[in-house]
C-alpha cells in the first residue's frame, strides 16, 4: 500500500504555481507528483546503460576486457 508524506511549502509559492498551471492538474499534489515522477523516471539513463553495455561487449569481443 502506498504511504504518503506531508510536506510544508510556502503558501505564496503554492498559490503562484496553481495560478500558472490552472486547469492542467486536479490539484497541487497532482502537479508535484508529476514533477517528481518526471525527475526520477530518467528514461534517458536507460539508453546510456544499454550503450555502455554495447561498448563493453565490443571490448570483450576484441579481447581488451
Amino acid at each position: 500500500m502506498t504511504q504518503y508524506r506531508t510536506v510544508h511549502l510556502p503558501e505564496e509559492l503554492c498559490g503562484a504555481a496553481e495560478k500558472l498551471l490552472a486547469g492542467r492538474f486536479e490539484n497541487l499534489e497532482a502537479l508535484l507528483s508529476f514533477l517528481l515522477q518526471e525527475i526520477v523516471k530518467d528514461d534517458a539513463a536507460k539508453f546510456d546503460r544499454a550503450e555502455e553495455q554495447m561498448i563493453e561487449q565490443r571490448l570483450k569481443d576484441l579481447g581488451y576486457i
Binding site: L20, F25, A44, F47, D48, E52
Partner: protein, 513 residues
C-alpha cells in the same frame, strides 16, 4: 594590460573543405584565406555534436550535447558558458544570430548576453511567395481529379508527383521574385550592420561579440553579387527557386539529384562567399574603431553539409561523415604566430576554455573541455581523439520521442575514425588516410588494437560525460521546458513542441498514474 576582446563568428553548415585556407580550389573565401595567413588554423576541427542543436552546447558551454541527458536541449539555466563567464568578468556581450530557431531564448542561448537578437521575429523569409491564387484556383479542381485518379496505382502516383512538381515550377516561374525575397534568413550583411551599431556603443569596454551566420544554410538563396563574383550570373533567382525545390524533393531517389548537384553547390558556395565578404567588412569596422589589435577573432562552424556524397542532402543526424563533423577553425589573436595545426583533431569542446585563456580568464569547473591555449601559443599543440555525438535520426528535437532514441557517436583520431551506431548495434572503422570519403569500413579483424583504443575512448566518454554533478543543471533544464510548455498552452500557431505532448499525457491522466 588592456583586456582582450573576443569575436566569435559561427557559420551554419560551413564545411571544412569549402574554404580556401583548407584547400578548396574555388575562390570562395579570399578574405578568410588572407586572414588565415596571420592566424592559427586547424586542419581537423571536429564538432562535439551535429547538427546545430547538438553542436552548440559544445561550442558555448564546453559540454557534450547529451551530458545532461538526451531529453535536455540547449543550454541549461545557470549553466556556465563562454558568454556568462565573460559577462561576469565585466565584458560587454552581444549576440546577433541569423534566425536559427534552435539558437534562441527558449533554449537558453541568451544567457550571458547584455544584447541578444535572434531575428526570429524578423519579417525576412516570412512573406508569402506564391503564385497568382486565381490561376492556381482554376487548376486546382483538375489537379484534384488527376491526383485521385493517380493514387489508384503506384506508377501513376509517381507520374502524378512528377507532373505536379513541374506544374508548380511552371506556375512559380511566371512571377519574378528577387533572391533577397526568397531568402529565409537575414543575410550576413544584416548581422554585420547590427554588430557595427552595437560596437559603436561599447566604448573602451572589453567585449564579446557572437555572430551566427546562416547564408550557406538551405534553402540556398545567396546574394546575386556573390553569384556574379563567382562567375555564376546565369543562376538567376528563378533558377535558384527551381533548384531548391527540386533538391527538397522526397519522392525521388538520390540518382536524380545528381543532375543539379553542381548548381546546388554553386549556390552554397556563393553563400559562403557572402559570409567571407561580410567578415572582411566586420574586420574593417573593428579596425576603424581601433579595436582590432586587441581582439581575439575566431571563425568556425556548427556542422557541415551533405551534397549526395552518400546519397544524402542537408545535415540530418543519421550519420556522422567527415563533411558533417569536420569544420573550419581559424583563430587569430594578438601576438599569436600563424600556424597550421594538422597533428590530429581539435575538438570544439575545447574551444570555449581555450578562448577564455586567450583573453586571460580562467574557465569554470563545469567545462568538459580544457584550454589548449598554452600549446597553441607555443606551437606544440597535438590533437587527441575527438568525440562527436547525437541522437540517431533526431531531425525534430522539439518532439520528445525524437530525442529518446539511441545515440550515434564518432570517435575521430588523426587517421582512423570509429562510428558507433547504437540503434543498429553496429560499428564501422574507417581509415581516413586511404579512404577519406569513408566508402569502405575496415574489416572486423583489421587494426584491432587501434579499434579497441577508440572503443576505450568511447567508453570513458560514456562513463564520465553524464556526471551526477550535473543533475541540478539537468533538472533546471527539464523544468524550464515544462514551464515554457505551460506558457505555450493554447497557442494555436505553435509547431509541435516537447512540452505539448507531455501536457497531453497529463490531461489523459498521466499525472495521477
Amino acid at each position: 594590460m588592456k583586456k582582450r576582446s573576443l569575436v566569435l563568428v559561427t557559420v551554419d553548415c560551413l564545411r571544412a573543405d569549402h574554404v580556401g585556407f583548407l584547400g578548396y580550389s574555388r575562390p570562395v573565401t579570399p578574405n578568410l584565406d588572407a586572414l588565415a595567413e596571420n592566424s592559427a588554423i586547424f586542419s581537423d576541427a571536429i564538432v562535439a555534436g551535429a547538427p546545430t542543436y547538438f553542436s552548440f552546447p559544445g561550442i558555448l558551454a564546453s559540454r557534450y550535447p547529451l551530458a545532461l541527458g538526451r531529453d535536455v536541449l540547449g543550454i541549461a539555466p545557470h549553466e556556465p558558458t563562454l558568454p556568462t563567464v565573460l559577462q561576469d568578468a565585466g565584458y560587454a556581450t552581444a549576440a546577433f544570430l541569423a534566425a536559427n530557431p534552435y539558437l534562441s531564448r527558449r533554449f537558453g542561448y541568451d544567457q550571458g548576453f547584455d544584447t541578444f537578437h535572434d531575428f526570429l521575429d524578423s519579417e525576412i523569409g516570412r512573406e508569402p511567395v506564391s503564385a497568382d491564387p486565381a490561376a492556381v484556383g482554376r487548376l486546382s479542381k483538375l489537379n484534384r481529379l488527376m491526383r485521385n485518379a493517380a493514387r489508384r496505382n503506384g506508377l501513376a502516383t509517381k507520374g502524378y508527383d512528377e507532373l505536379y512538381f513541374w506544374y508548380c515550377q511552371w506556375v512559380s516561374a511566371r512571377e519574378s521574385v528577387p533572391m533577397d525575397k526568397l531568402r529565409r534568413y537575414p543575410a550576413a550583411n544584416v548581422m554585420v550592420d547590427q554588430a557595427a551599431s552595437w560596437l559603436s556603443t561599447v566604448g573602451e569596454q572589453p567585449f564579446l561579440l557572437w555572430l551566427h551566420l546562416m547564408d550557406p544554410h538551405h534553402p540556398y538563396y545567396p546574394p546575386e553579387e556573390s553569384l556574379a563574383a563567382l562567375g555564376l550570373p546565369h543562376i538567376t533567382a528563378r533558377r535558384a527557386r527551381m533548384l531548391n525545390s527540386f533538391w527538397n524533393r522526397w519522392d525521388i531517389g538520390p540518382r536524380r539529384f545528381e543532375r543539379y548537384r553542381n548548381e546546388i553547390i554553386s549556390l552554397y558556395d556563393a553563400g559562403v562567399h557572402w559570409v567571407d565578404k561580410q567578415i572582411s567588412r566586420l574586420i574593417g569596422i573593428l579596425q576603424r574603431l581601433q579595436r582590432w589589435d586587441e581582439t581575439v577573432f575566431v571563425v568556425t562552424a556548427d556542422h557541415g553539409e551533405a551534397f549526395l556524397e552518400h546519397g544524402d542532402r542537408y545535415h540530418s543526424p543519421t550519420s556522422l561523415p567527415e563533411y558533417l563533423i569536420r569544420v573550419p577553425l581559424l583563430l587569430r589573436a594578438p601576438g599569436l604566430s600563424a600556424r597550421r595545426f594538422s597533428q590530429g583533431p581539435f575538438s570544439l569542446i575545447h574551444l570555449a576554455p581555450t578562448l577564455l585563456e586567450a583573453v586571460g580568464i580562467s574557465s569554470p569547473d563545469g567545462f568538459q573541455g580544457r584550454s589548449c591555449w598554452e600549446q597553441i601559443s607555443a606551437g606544440n599543440w597535438r590533437g587527441e581523439p575527438a568525440i562527436t555525438e547525437c541522437i540517431d535520426g533526431c531531425c525534430n528535437p522539439m518532439r520528445p520521442d525524437d530525442r529518446m532514441r539511441p545515440r550515434l557517436m564518432a570517435v575521430r583520431d588523426q587517421e582512423l575514425k570509429l562510428v558507433i551506431n547504437f540503434s543498429e548495434k553496429r560499428d564501422c572503422l574507417y581509415d581516413l588516410k586511404n579512404d577519406p570519403r569513408e566508402c569502405s569500413p575496415l574489416p572486423a579483424g583489421v587494426r584491432t588494437r587501434e579499434r579497441a583504443g577508440l572503443f576505450q575512448v568511447a567508453q570513458r566518454h560514456l562513463q564520465t560525460s553524464a556526471s551526477a554533478e550535473r543533475t541540478d543543471l539537468r533538472l533546471s533544464a527539464l523544468l524550464r521546458e515544462l514551464q515554457q510548455s505551460a506558457k505555450m498552452t493554447g497557442a494555436t500557431t505553435a509547431s509541435p513542441m516537447a512540452g505539448e505532448e507531455r501536457w497531453a499525457s497529463i490531461s489523459s491522466g498521466g499525472a495521477q498514474s
